[in-house]
Symmetry: C2
Subunit: 224 residues, 2 copies
């Protein structure tokens, strides 16, 4: 009688775009959002961003966002699915910018530098990104399931895995990657900074050290 599992997700009702989707159609066009829908999405994102800036993400209610955007509450949920979805939407721009920086920007973050250097630069950038958007990120952390399946996390994970491989790391790359990703968990970073009082430089140095330990030759003997 115990219900399936936490990871059993809401099935296929699947409205909830969270972002204007361009689904290809039979005739070669794209199924675009209706004009009013698109306008409301913009209004909602702007209102949400304003309220977050004013009161902190933690104190922004869905109803307040709806009201500030002069829109019904139902509309907010239809556009963004739930509170966490709205928060993710708020992060979308900066996350894309970050992705572009490490996928195709200038070295050492982007291609062109040796993999270990890129990895170190990546972590430093990720930590800074986390700090910059901390309060919204902490809100997205509410839904543990989505956190680990979110596209942004997958992209980061793939990037790390590729760099590890390029660096000649052997072993369970998937797990090593997850371990490295753990360094950017917003609540962890927040805790280390706020409660334990660690300066950013220390976190960055810790990341570099960790990368070195991970990369420095595989599980078997040290220095063949």
């Amino acid at each position: 009688m115990t219900p399936p599992f936490r990871s059993a997700q809401l099935p296929p009702p699947a409205p909830v775009p969270e972002r204007a989707q361009g689904l290809p159609m039979a005739d070669g066009g794209v199924a675009t959002e209706r004009a009013d829908a698109a306008r409301n999405r913009m209004r909602l994102l702007e209102a949400a961003a304003r309220l977050v800036a004013e009161h902190g993400a933690e104190h922004v209610t869905m109803e307040a966002v709806a009201c500030a955007a002069s829109v019904g509450k139902g509309t907010v949920f239809r556009r963004f699915g739930d509170r966490v979805g709205l928060m993710y939407a708020l992060l979308d721009h900066s996350e894309r910018a970050f992705q572009q920086a490490f996928l195709s920007g200038p070295p050492p973050l982007g291609p062109g530098a040796p993999p270990v250097e890129r990895l170190e630069a990546f972590g430093v950038a990720a930590i800074r990104h986390t700090l910059a958007y901390m309060d919204v990120l902490l809100e997205t952390d509410q839904d543990a399931n989505r956190r680990y399946s979110h596209p942004a996390r997958l992209v980061r994970g793939t990037h790390i895995a590729v760099l590890l491989r390029e660096a000649g790391v052997t072993g369970d790359l998937a797990l090593l990657t997850e371990n490295l990703l753990g360094c950017f968990e917003p609540p962890l970073v927040n805790h280390l900074r706020t409660v334990r009082g660690m300066p950013v430089e220390r976190l960055e140095a810790g990341w570099r050290d960790l990368v070195d330990r991970t990369v420095r030759r595989g599980p078997s003997g040290c220095c063949p």
Copy 2:
């Protein structure tokens, strides 16, 4: 006008014991719970455990617990503070047992084995513990702040740090410890098992590998 921070905690109203406290008093006695309070705590814990077993932690409401224990809703909150507090209380016994096992049980988990072996055994035990209590642990994960400051996590962290030191690891032990602790995050373990389909053995092997990489000689050159 932005409110202080997320980590700013509820000040000192400080009822919320979460566990029968034995505070020392002037006369040498202990300030114990009133009889009815203690009885209600037991009833609530039993009721909660039953409901969790029956319906899964995720579907247990505070009102249902109160009702099943024939107690008012207010009483549940006075005893355990909030939902997460109740969940932590449910985990208390097993967590203490685990602590005893690695602090004073037989080797290789307890004292007597070399530190690296203990560390590896610790991780394996922690992963199993996490899997065994997964659904309740996932509920405790709601409150990100408390997660990182919870006594149980501190104990685990101290244990890891001590073993790392004994193993002769140099570097930022605090950060290395946090990184290793990340391997036991319930939502991560759940994701790797449920979504990514990794068997327990793989997680355990991954832990051992990670310990090896962490321990194998510090940040500077490889094999002096």
